[in-house]
């Protein structure tokens, strides 16, 4: 069979298009990336995660600066969360982390509040000040319980 160069070119373009689509999906949509390598890694320990998941965003004043890389159980049976942050960030040593909710029932994410310590956090440091997730169910339970006792007191 005689080769037609135009057809071979079309096949080449098709393969490039397909590979480009796979690359776009895995890099832009899937979130695989090499640029995050060499980021600032911090560890924070929490008593209650309340449904925090890996790849949840980490924000400062609402601006995304990183994401949750790993969640595990520490030696003291507290949740150990590894954060992957923008390497250009200079965070004071008394920065605190809290787990908050987007809206009433939305996704959990981590918000960082900066302190005033002149010392800076280095790669691999642990955040000492953390605030755990507020569980709505537990809060409601407490509220109902308290209402019950106040009713008895008023009678």
């Amino acid at each position: 069979m005689s080769r037609s160069p135009g057809r071979d070119l079309l096949v080449g373009v098709f393969v490039l298009l397909g590979l480009g689509a796979i690359a776009y999906l895995s890099l832009a949509v899937g979130g695989a990336s090499w640029q995050r390598r060499g980021g600032l890694t911090l560890v924070a320990n929490f008593d209650e995660l309340g449904g925090l998941k890996t790849r949840a965003p980490v924000v400062i004043s609402g601006v995304k600066v990183g994401q949750v890389r790993a969640i595990g159980l520490g030696d003291d049976f507290r949740a150990r969360v590894t954060l992957d942050l923008d390497p250009t960030l200079k965070l004071p040593a008394d920065t605190s982390a809290s787990i908050v909710t987007a809206g009433l029932l939305g996704d959990r994410y981590i918000s960082l509040q900066l302190g005033g310590d002149p010392k800076l956090l280095a790669n691999g440091d642990t955040l000492n000040f953390t605030e755990s997730a507020v569980l709505l169910e537990r809060l409601l339970g407490k509220l109902v319980h308290n209402m019950g006792t106040t009713d008895k007191n008023s009678q």
Binding site: M1, R3, R7, D8, L10, V11, F14, V15, L17, G18, L19, A21, I22, Y24, L25, S26, A28, V29, G30, G31, A32, R55, P57
Partner: protein, 258 residues
């Protein structure tokens, strides 16, 4: 009564020997594809026929499916005031299920049937016997390049289908219905995981590529050398390949754990 039992037995052993013949055929195709001569130019020609010529239908269908997902998803999410998550709905449905499955079904109809008919006609017109007379193995020369091309083409077409679908959802959701463009892409990126979703999607596409290529070439190769035989082979290809794609989709989803 005894006759019915005998017929059941014949049907059972017939099915089993058919499956065995298919497995031996697959082994031979794999061996011929992996040992030289590799017939790379034949594979390129088949990639053109199976892939390039399917490109338009894949892109158009992807766009249409994405647009429908955008519209349906928006109408449902609007009730809960959660239209911000439209990107996640469109993206997850496309990546996990619709992309690989619909691409496999479309390729079965567009290219699998053509492959079976082509090989079947070669059987009917004794072209394969001609090859054998020249001591060219027809499985090596005709069948293996087609099966390899099907395996290569399926992941590429699936990825293109998904990208077109995401674009279609974006067109309807963002352009038409006024969802925020940033919210659409952010929820999409946030929902789709590389290992769980995208890798699973490509595994599905590869398995479907093997399935469709295998069934189409086997049915064509074993078709009766008559015009009725070729038409029966083509029909059987589309039916068997579509059903097994859907069954294997469930199995992969259950095993992959997504």
């Amino acid at each position: 009564m005894v006759d019915a039992v005998r017929r059941l037995g014949a049907a059972t052993s017939g099915t089993i020997s058919d499956l065995g013949a298919m497995a031996r055929f697959l082994l031979k195709v794999v061996r011929d594809a992996l040992t030289p001569p590799w017939r790379l130019l034949n594979v390129v020609d088949e990639v053109y026929k199976l892939g390039v010529l399917s490109l338009l239908i894949i892109c158009v269908c992807g766009l249409a499916v994405g647009m429908v997902l955008g519209l349906q998803g928006y109408n449902t999410l609007e009730r809960f005031g959660a239209t911000q998550s439209l990107g996640a709905v469109v993206g997850l449905s496309l990546v996990r299920e619709l992309g690989p499955v619909l691409t496999a079904l479309l390729v079965t109809g567009r290219a699998g049937s053509a492959t079976a008919a082509e090989i079947g006609t070669m059987v009917a017109t004794e072209q394969l016997d001609g090859l054998r007379m020249m001591s060219v193995d027809p499985v090596d020369y005709v069948v293996a390049p087609r099966a390899v091309a099907m395996l290569l083409v399926m992941p590429l077409l699936t990825a293109l289908f998904i990208v077109c679908g995401i674009a279609g959802g974006w067109l309807v959701g963002v352009r038409l219905l006024g969802v925020d463009a940033g919210a659409y892409m952010t929820s999409l990126e946030h929902a789709i995981d590389l290992r769980d979703d995208l890798a699973g999607s490509l595994v599905k596409a590869l398995v479907f590529g093997v399935l469709v290529g295998w069934i189409a070439t086997y049915r064509g190769y074993t078709s009766a050398p008559t015009s009725a035989g070729v038409s029966a082979a083509t029909t059987a290809t589309v039916v068997v390949a579509s059903v097994s794609v859907l069954i294997f989709d469930y199995l992969i989803t259950a095993l992959w754990g997504v």
